[in-house]
């Protein structure tokens, strides 16, 4: 069943809210409120429209941000990244990160740095032709 346009707009509003406020502790109530749906109705519609639950979407957003911070910030500690992207506990951050990315945060950072280092040695044409920009 496809989601009608008005519902989609309301869902997108809630998703935008996650995009903006992912670094805060967000409850389903807070998120569903943005779409003006009851929480269970919202949960079902959201999953139908975006193929994931709001919680999964939120986690993905946080993990993406964590990856970015780990890649870019030289001296940032994993603990700081964890809290900065909105997780409340280092343990759940680490295990979720590992599950999503395939490596622990610290290993991801090492690998990302090695990749950056390696990329600098490769002529740009190869990076482009072999689609290595985003690895």
């Amino acid at each position: 069943m496809s989601t009608d346009l008005e519902t989609l707009e309301r869902l997108a509003r809630a998703r935008d809210f996650i995009d903006h406020c992912y670094d805060h502790p967000l409850s389903l109530d807070q998120i569903s409120e943005k779409a003006c749906f009851s929480r269970y109705h919202f949960l079902r519609l959201f999953r139908q429209a975006f193929n994931k639950t709001p919680h999964q979407y939120l986690i993905e957003r946080r993990i993406e941000k964590a990856k970015e911070l780990l890649r870019k910030e030289d001296d940032v500690r994993v603990t700081d990244v964890c809290f900065e992207v909105g997780f409340q506990s280092l343990g759940s951050f680490s295990s979720l990160f590992h599950k999503c990315v395939g490596h622990a945060p610290i290993t991801y950072r090492e690998k990302a740095r090695e990749t950056e280092q390696a990329k600098r040695q490769v002529p740009g044409c190869f990076i482009v032709m072999y689609k290595l920009e985003s690895v």
Binding site: I127, Y130, V135
Partner: protein
């Protein structure tokens, strides 16, 4: 104005084996060997006299620039031995020929006099053929 060539690609069937061959049998050294992401290995080697000319040893693999069909096509051409990848220079073609032969390098033709010098032709372990030339005037 183009000044010079800095990189050239040689497709190889296996980068590990190519590295060993080019290092141990041809006497090249590794210029750069780095993983860019999980699947792309940037491996370049150079001769002693040309440290700034990198020979890129690239493995045809599906998933990056190529699809499976393209990768297979290149591997087939390598297997058929039809890819000629260039000319290397030496001061002593016959001597180098003996050294390389002793190391097990396969030669397509033995050293012979040419208008431009002495030349032999060998293959690398992937099937690429190269000329080994001692230009006239070099003892």
């Amino acid at each position: 104005m183009i000044r010079k060539m800095s990189h050239a690609t040689v497709f190889v069937t296996n980068q590990n084996e190519a590295l060993e061959f080019y290092r141990d049998k041809l006497g090249f050294r590794v210029h750069t060997d780095a993983m860019v992401g999980p699947d792309f290995r940037w491996l370049t080697m150079c001769t002693n006299d040309q440290p700034d000319f990198e020979i890129i040893l690239l493995e045809p693999k599906p998933g990056m620039m190529m699809d499976q069909e393209t990768s297979n096509a290149i591997r087939t051409l390598l297997g058929k031995g039809v890819l000629g990848a260039g000319v290397f220079n030496t001061d002593d073609c016959r001597g180098t020929y003996e050294e390389m032969k002793a190391k097990g390098v396969q030669f397509v033709s033995e050293p012979a006099e040419r208008p431009y010098g002495v030349e032999a032709v060998f293959r690398d372990n992937s099937g690429n053929w190269f000329s080994l030339t001692q230009p006239t005037g070099k003892s």
